[in-house]
Symmetry: C3
Amino acid sequence: MRHLISPLDFTVEELDKLLNLAGDIEKNPQKYKECCKGKKLATLFYEPSTRTRLSFEAAMLNLGGSVLGFSEASSSSASKGESVSDTIRIISCYADICAMRHPKEGAALVAAKKSGIPVINAGDGGHQHPTQTLTDLMTIRTLKGRLDNITIGLCGDLKFGRTVHSLINALLRYDNVKFVLISPAELKVPGYIIENIKEAGAQYEEVSRLEDVIGGLDLLYMTRVQRERFFNEEDYIRLKDSFILDKKKLKSAKDDMLILHPLPRVNEIAVEVDDDPRAVYFKQAQFGVYVRMALILTLLEVEV
Amino acid sequence: MRHLISPLDFTVEELDKLLNLAGDIEKNPQKYKECCKGKKLATLFYEPSTRTRLSFEAAMLNLGGSVLGFSEASSSSASKGESVSDTIRIISCYADICAMRHPKEGAALVAAKKSGIPVINAGDGGHQHPTQTLTDLMTIRTLKGRLDNITIGLCGDLKFGRTVHSLINALLRYDNVKFVLISPAELKVPGYIIENIKEAGAQYEEVSRLEDVIGGLDLLYMTRVQRERFFNEEDYIRLKDSFILDKKKLKSAKDDMLILHPLPRVNEIAVEVDDDPRAVYFKQAQFGVYVRMALILTLLEVEV
Amino acid sequence: MRHLISPLDFTVEELDKLLNLAGDIEKNPQKYKECCKGKKLATLFYEPSTRTRLSFEAAMLNLGGSVLGFSEASSSSASKGESVSDTIRIISCYADICAMRHPKEGAALVAAKKSGIPVINAGDGGHQHPTQTLTDLMTIRTLKGRLDNITIGLCGDLKFGRTVHSLINALLRYDNVKFVLISPAELKVPGYIIENIKEAGAQYEEVSRLEDVIGGLDLLYMTRVQRERFFNEEDYIRLKDSFILDKKKLKSAKDDMLILHPLPRVNEIAVEVDDDPRAVYFKQAQFGVYVRMALILTLLEVEV
C-alpha cells in the first residue's frame, strides 16, 4: 500500500504519470465520474483548512465517491486523548483512503505506519504539504508546457513558507531550473534549502526587491509576508511594498510570465492584477482538484 | 448566469413558475431524484444556521447531487483574512452552485459579482433571507390556494425581523393583500416598509394586541419577541403575553386561519397549539425543502 | 415506527435477527451497497463524538445512502433556544432516519415521541449508548461463537462507565454468563446493577486486582480509569497499574481470551498488546459499522 507523505515520495517518472492522469481528467472529466463509486474518503483535519479540505472533497465527489470526516480537532476523539495511531486504525474501518491535516510535524507519517488505508498528508505543521506542491507542478507543466528550463522567482516569506521549500525541492529534480529568491533579509530561504540547491548544481540568486528581477522571470510564485514575522515595525513598513505585486511592477515582466500563489492571499497581490492573463492563481485551485483526483485514483489503484 | 440575492430578484411570473415546480416536486419527488446527479452544492455558512443549511443539503441530496462546505467561519479561510471575493472564486472550482450565509449585509451580492457559479443568499446579516420568503410564499399558496386577496397578521418583533420585511415586500406584488401589523410600540415595522405598503396602495393597520385582531385574519405569521430588544424590563413583562399565541387566543380565530412561523420558536407559540390543524409551521419546513429543490434546478437550468 | 433508545429495546429474538443480518453484511457487503439509495441519515450530535458519528456515517454510505447533520451543539439551532422536540420535527422533513447524541439523559426518548422518522440514541449523557452495546454483542458472538456460557471480566471504571452497565444488562438475558467485576473500591458497579445480576440469578464476583482473576476469563472488557474519578491522588497512584493491561498480565490469560475495549483508550491497554491476536478492540470498530448498517436497515424496514 502506498501513501503520500512527502512531495518527493513519487519518483520523477511516477510524478509524470500522475500529472498525465491529472491532465486527462481535466480534458475528460466525464470519463472519471464513477471511478470511485462506493469508495469513501475520510478528511481528518486536526486544524481547519477549508480550501484544502474542500479541494479533497470535491475531488472525491467528482470521482463518484463519498466523504466523511471532521474539520477541526475539537470535534475529534483527539480531545479525549486518543493517539493518531489509534485514530487511523479506527478510520481504516470507516473509509478507503484518508487525507490528514495535523498541526504536528510527522503526524501523517506516524498515521501511515499503522494505517490500513492510504494516507495523504494534507499538511503537517510547518513541514510538508505535498498536494500543494503537486498542484503547483501541474499548473506550471500545463500552462508553461514544461518543468525544466525555467527561471522561477519565489517572493515573500521564504523562511517559514513550507510550500516554497517543497516546490524548490521538487523542481530541483528537473534540468536547468534557476531560482530567484526574493525576500526581506529576515525571511530568507533557510540554509538547508540553499544546500539542496547547491548540491543539485542549480543556479540561484537571493535578492530583496521584486522590481529588480521581475523582468527575467518565467514564473513568479508569490507568498504572503506576515507582519508578525518581522523583528520590528519599521522594517515591516519599509519593506512590505517591495513584496506586493501590482500592475506597475508587472509592466516590467515578460508577456508570458505566470503568476502563481498557493492562496489564500491577503494583500500581497493587488486585486487589480486578477484580470491580467498572466495571473493564474485561481486556475491553480482548479488544477488542485484534478491533481487530487489523480492522486486518489493512483493510491487506490483504480483502473480507469 | 442567475443568482438569488434578494427575494424580489424573480418577477411575479418567474416566481409563479418556481412555485409550480416546487409544487410538482412535492407531488412527484421520485421524478426529480437523479436530476442533479454529479452536481455539487457548496454550503458556505460564515455563521451557524443548522436549519437553513440542512434544508439546502436535504434539497440537493433529494435531487441526487452531493454537498460540501463549512458550517461556521472558524473553520473557513476567512479566519486567515481571505476576502469573500477570493473565496467564491475558489469555491467556483469546487462546486456547481452555492448557498452562502454571512453576518455582513451584502456579502452574497459581493460574492455573486466574482462567482463562476450561481450564488444563493442564505441570509446576509439583518438584510435578506430570500429562501425563507420563498418558503413562506409556497406555504401560503399551497395551503391557502392563493397569494392575493388575503388578510395577513404579522406578529412579534416587526422591527428587526428580516423575514417579516421580506414577506411584506413580496406580498405587495399581489392584489388586495391587507397587512395587520401586531407588535409592541418599540418593535414596530420600520418606516421604509410602511412607505412601501403605502406606495403599493395596500391596506394596513398597526396594533399592539393580538387578541383584538386575530378574528379577522386569514393568516397569522408569528415571530419571536426577544427580551433584549425592549428598552426596559417592565415593558417586556407587561407586553410579552400579548405576543404569545395560545389555545385561548386561537378560539377567536377563523377555522381556516393558517399559523406560520419561520422557526426556531422559543415560547411565542405555546406547545399546546402544535396539534391544532391550523398550525402549519412544521409543514413550512417541509415546503422549504421543495422550494429549495426548485430553486437549485432553476438556477442550474436543469431540464427535467 | 420503531426507534432504538435503550439496549434492551430489542427482544433476544429481535437481537438475534439483527446480529444475523450484521453477520451477513460482514460476509457480503456488496449485496447491501445500494439498499439505502436515496435515503438520508441525519447525525444530530449535540456533543462531539467523532468515532460514533463517523461509524454511523460510514454505515449509511456503505448502504448507498447519504448523510447530513451537525457535529456539535454550537452550530445547531439549540444555541437559539430551540427544543429537541421542535428540532426533531424539522429534521423529520430533511431525513429518513436519525442518530442523536445529546449530553442530557432522556433526550433521545423525548425526540422519539415527536419524531416522524426512526431515532437512534447515539448516547444520552451517562445513560445509554445502545449501539455500543450492539457492537460489543456482535464482537463477542462473532469471535467467540456464543453469547451464553461465558465468563466475562469487566475492568476499570465500573461506576460511571455506561457501556459496562449496558453490556451487563444485555448479557443477563443469556444463560450462564458469569461476571468478574474488576475495579478500585471507589469505582465499583452501582448497587442497582448488582441487583439486576442477582435477580437474573447470574454469578458474579467483585475484585480489585486484574492479575488475580485474568486466568479464568473468556473475555476481558477493558475501560478507562480516569484520574479525576479518584478521591485522592495516593489511591490513584497506588491502584492505577492494577487496571492497566500489559503483556506481563496477559501471560496468565487463556489462549483464546478476547480483549475488548469501547475506545478511545488512553493508556489502560499498553500499546505492546495491540499485536496480540487476542486483542480485538480494533476489530470491534469494524463490527460497529456492520451492526449499525443492520440497525439502519431494520429500522427503515428495508427489504434486501
